[in-house]
């Protein structure tokens, strides 16, 4: 076994994949970005584990894996609360946790959210494919052999970025709470005017629930049915993450990390970047309400979030030196 081997997969969980912040610059070739569904949680997990924020970690969905630790390391678990344990003992989330060779990382029943992130000091090391370590399931690209983890897989870690001298724990006010009622801010369009006034009103006043058919490609909703202007035929066009497309059955779909790069339906609105993690943490049965904001507001929120990360990184450098 290689020195860099860090985890052996004893049980894979429902859907556990290697993800970083995604593959950029290949959409015109039809290759979607993939990457962590909840980039906030992965970035935080990385910073807590002593990494640069864009390294690869594990994205764990609804049910956790069982991992055997193959070499001493520091991990951080963020995102959905799956009650992580090491050798049967609860460990804190949103904090750095040293683990030792031979210990077993396990998870319990889901308490909140939908996707948990596990980062390890040095990052999960899989080959870079088109500049990213993210698993793009539909294309069998990247990650661990282009697929979700299976029993018996052995994961390696990269070089430690800087050894952690002190344990880290995220300030409680920076830890999101995941409830079953989700408010999501959107920017109208790009094809909002292809929906009659009545449909638009339903969209902003209605409650939509997340259906079990949702996955990394799209969050499928059920709620008040949205009609499209009669006679309008949409010509397939490129779609950003967060696009809310409405197929003829009237049930909106929010396009997410593993989405196709182009879409054949009109988009009534687009989720703003800082709210995409809320969708990622929504599980089947959770309810979503949409709130309209303007572009200026969304950019202000994005800048605030990035400022927070800049400050955190500065602070962490202080801790490490």
């Amino acid at each position: 076994m290689k020195d860099s081997a860090v985890f052996k997969v004893i049980k894979p969980g429902l859907l556990t994949t290697v993800q970083d912040l995604g593959r950029r610059g290949y959409e015109r070739f039809g290759i979607g970005a993939a990457g962590a569904m909840d980039p906030y949680a992965l970035r935080m997990a990385n910073l807590l584990a002593g990494n640069e924020e864009n390294l690869a970690g594990l994205e764990i969905t609804l049910q956790g894996p069982v991992l055997e630790v193959l070499s001493d390391c520091v991990i951080a678990v963020t995102g959905a609360n799956l009650q992580p344990r090491v050798n049967g003992k609860d460990i804190p989330m949103w904090a750095s946790v040293p683990v030792k060779k031979g210990e077993i990382i396990e998870f319990g029943p889901l308490k909140s959210g939908c996707r948990t992130y596990l980062a390890v000091n040095g990052g999960i090391d899989v080959p870079l494919v088109m500049g990213s370590r993210s698993t793009y399931l539909r294309g069998n690209i990247g990650g661990y052999n282009g697929r979700a983890l299976k029993k018996g897989d052995v994961l390696e870690k990269g070089e430690e970025f800087l050894p952690l001298k002190r344990k880290r724990r995220l300030a409680p006010e920076l830890i999101p709470t995941y409830s079953g009622q989700i408010s999501v801010r959107v920017i109208e369009g790009p094809q909002a005017n292809m929906f009659p006034e009545k449909s638009r009103e339903k969209f902003y006043t209605g409650i939509f629930s997340i259906t079990p058919q949702s996955d990394r490609m799209g969050c499928r909703l059920q709620g008040p049915s949205l009609e499209i202007e009669e006679g309008y035929e949409h010509i397939t066009d490129p779609v950003p993450p967060g696009s809310i497309q409405v197929p003829p059955d009237g049930n909106p779909i929010i396009l997410l990390a593993d989405r196709q790069t182009t879409g054949g339906y009109a988009k009534i609105a687009t989720v703003i970047s800082v709210d995409l993690p809320k969708i990622a943490q929504g599980k089947p049965g959770d309810q979503i309400q949409f709130i309209k904001v303007d572009l200026q507001e969304s950019h202000k929120l994005l800048k605030e979030k990035e400022k927070l990360f800049r400050l955190l990184k500065l602070q962490l450098r202080g801790v490490m030196s």
């Binding site: 290949y26 500049g131 920017i187 790009p190 182009t262």
Partner: protein, 241 residues
């Protein structure tokens, strides 16, 4: 230039041209894409051509929406379908029918043609690649001859092999990856459309290119396949329109 800019979320600008599928409109999109490549506008991350729109992704921390819209509006792209000096035509070798083109006989039957006629019609023209989407390296092609329009299979196959050439309604296309699918498969190409290890251009075909299907014999097909597997030069020639 004839377009409007619309916000597509907080990181995208949808540059919408005249809402129709035509070579003329699509040509303007290809022209705008090459301008973006040439100009390297700060804050622009990537762009994706559609049939009649271009998505421009930007970083709001490095630039702002209004500024970019102004830059885009100032770019000079001719409204007329100016012929590009060089157009890429991909000659795609296809083994029609047989084990890897099982639906050829049905396509012929449904359209009251012989298999030979279907092949002649399908390979008898040059198709424009309007855009790449749906799957890695999947080309949206224009202009399938109405004589061979054929509805999709009633129930999709669980697996269609990568390289399968098919017909679905008014469309023809090539599967870049093995996926489930309901297209009528009339042939197979040994050329890999999608090569993840070719990082500068993982998709053989790009928006604005042209495709010509070239019928090959089983022997030719096998020899191209062997050459592809060895990683040698592949049967691929660009020619001018």
């Amino acid at each position: 230039m004839d377009f409007i800019c619309l916000p597509a979320g907080d990181r995208g600008i949808l540059v919408q041209f005249k809402n129709e599928i035509s070579e003329q409109v699509n040509e303007q999109i290809i022209a705008l894409s090459s301008l973006l490549k040439e100009k390297q506008i700060p804050g622009v991350e990537e762009w994706v051509p559609g049939y009649c729109s271009l998505m421009v992704y930007y970083d709001p921390l490095k630039t702002d929406y209004k500024k970019l819209v102004n830059i885009l509006s100032s770019l000079q792209v001719s409204n007329t379908c100016e012929m590009r000096k060089e157009k890429r035509i991909h000659n795609i070798p296809v083994l029609y029918g047989g084990e890897t083109g099982k639906d050829l006989s049905d396509v012929a039957k449904i359209n009251r043609l012989t298999e030979k006629e279907v092949i002649e019609i399908h390979s008898g023209k040059i198709y424009r690649v309007y855009m790449i989407g749906f799957a890695p390296g999947f080309p949206y092609l224009g202009g399938l001859d109405p004589r061979i329009h054929t509805p999709r299979l009633k129930s999709p196959r669980v697996k269609v092999e990568a390289g399968s050439v098919g017909i679905a309604g008014k469309q023809t296309g090539i599967y870049p990856l093995s996926t489930p699918g309901g297209w009528r498969i009339i042939g197979h190409t040994p050329l890999p459309l999608f090569q993840p290890d070719k990082e500068d251009s993982p998709s053989l075909i790009q928006a604005g290119d042209y495709i010509r299907f070239v019928p090959v014999t089983e022997e030719e097909y096998d020899s191209i396949k062997r050459s592809v597997e060895k990683g040698g030069s592949i049967f691929e020639g660009f020619s001018r329109v």
